[in-house]
Symmetry: C2
Subunit: 314 residues, 2 copies
């Protein structure tokens, strides 16, 4: 496959920038002292729909042909991609069809409905999600926009680190969490283009470490039975994503759930901002491997802030 | 008494600015839509020590004479002023003595100790706090820096809205919470100097409404038996503070605890930032009186972000 070029990624940024926030970069002296390095947090928790997913979804929708637009978009997701796609469709004035498991949290359904997305419920298993999605696509002619294993989505996620490196060009290391690999793949690609000297390091939950194992095995090892509080990172790596990770990611570091919760608490208490557990994974991985980052300038993408406030782990 | 002039307040800002953050101003489309007006949030929850109190304490400490400095500063407080004064003293390299009730939360004691403050415990009542403080001052010669009824503290708090109006000059209304009146008094004074057309409106918890009652009675009515989640706003108005409020505050609006909690949740969910309950009071008061703010540009000072994450009201 041909991956997006740097000018493709810049074009994606120009395409979506009026539909997303240019999120701020925050620093925190107290956390720097604890970490022993300089950290620049790119705050995608402040992004539209509360997560970086707004970028990929917007890019995919805006690249549809006029004919495709009339028929809308579809996906299956119970997470941030569902809301992001419904919002992008709404902004573009086209329909969206979101297949969600019948046991999806009410708040996630509400977000999709709030953006005018049509929810199609299915049994809570992967098979039912896929067959239901196929039926929806057959009925409506909508374009299926997958959450991460899709070039236009990766190209959109790749715009995040573009902004980070524009605002803070002298980083030694860039970190992102890894689930399906949309954000990580896009991040690694952009960082490679802008400055191949920058190390790209992923943080992954020890309880869902398929990317770590796949990275070291040299082939995709699917995730089975994930068990972690980082509920945005449960899925297996996508194919395109794995290819990018093999080429451009320098390392994947693991963090246990207690380390993830501790990092999350640190961000809440010291930075006074809200992040979801998945979002705390890179910082947790950094703090578990401080010697590796000593004295460096590290950019960390805070991926999202959609958390159930009634169920905080502290 | 002679209140600070605008040039005094500007001088205070120059005096403290290398010791505090120039906090950002955030906006939120979703909350604007709910509120029916344009709100500019001045984020003192991101301030040093997590609250605007860093300003007043820094100003008071930096104005000490060289001789006063050698003997340090003292106060009695179990809240943000304690940490703010200990930090300001630490930055200035002078001792601080903080009288705290024996039942003060461990986290508050830890913050003071973290800044090198010496904690002197006393029985948990006002009489014990006052006599213990007197003994500390007699023993050490330290200067007593009260939390709000003190000119240099008010002058420091007055710098917050100075920044807000520099960054966002076209506000119709400025709002702040009111407890002792340090922030509100300073805010009203600065706003009056910069543009007397700006309305200054306070938000106060209905369960601790002494400022509301004092404002309408024309004399100070002390707070007895406060009952509200807004634990930073339990105290009675100070004398200097009341004088400023009578002169320069246009109105005080009340919010009930359910309204405060709802406003707090809105900020957490929509803005992804952490605020303490007291900090949500102006927004709660605005939302309870929407017609009054319709279509206006409103600056709200988010006063602080120090909250026990294990005890969130949702």
């Amino acid at each position: 496959m041909n991956f997006p070029t740097l000018s493709d990624i810049r074009a994606a940024h120009a395409r979506i920038q009026s539909f997303i926030h240019r999120t701020p970069i925050l620093t925190c002296t107290a956390i720097d002292e604890i970490a022993g390095c300089e950290i620049y947090f790119k705050c995608e928790n402040f992004q539209k729909v509360g997560a970086f997913k707004a970028r990929g979804a917007a890019n995919a929708v805006m690249k549809l042909s006029p004919e495709e637009r009339t028929k809308g978009v579809a996906t299956h997701s119970s997470g941030n991609h569902a809301a992001a796609l419904a919002r992008a469709a709404s902004v573009a004035g086209i329909p969206s069809y979101i297949v969600m498991p019948s046991n999806a949290p009410e708040i996630k359904k509400k977000a999709v409905k709030g953006y005018g997305g049509e929810i199609i419920e299915c049994e809570p298993n992967l098979k039912a999600r896929e067959t239901t999605l196929e039926a929806v696509v057959a009925r409506t002619g909508a374009t299926f926009i997958p959450p991460y294993d899709y070039m236009d989505v990766i190209e959109g996620q790749a715009t995040c680190v573009l902004e980070l490196l524009e605002d803070q060009p002298d980083l030694d290391i860039v970190m992102a969490p890894v689930g399906g690999g949309g954000l990580l793949g896009g991040t690694a690609l952009t960082a490679h283009y802008i400055n191949p000297e920058i190390e790209v390091i992923a943080g992954e939950p020890a309880g869902a470490d398929d990317a770590f194992r796949s990275f070291h095995a040299g082939h995709i090892i699917p995730q089975t039975g994930p068990n972690t509080i980082a509920d945005g990172l449960l899925t297996s790596l996508g194919k395109l994503n794995f290819e990018l990770i093999q080429k451009y990611v320098d390392d994947i570091l693991l963090a246990t759930d207690p380390q993830i919760i501790e990092a999350m608490r640190l961000v809440y208490e010291r930075m006074k901002i809200i992040i979801e557990p998945s979002c705390a994974v890179p910082l947790a991985a950094l703090l578990a491997n401080k010697e590796r980052f000593a004295g460096k300038k590290v950019g960390i993408i805070l991926s999202g802030g959609n958390v159930d406030l009634g169920k905080l782990p502290f």
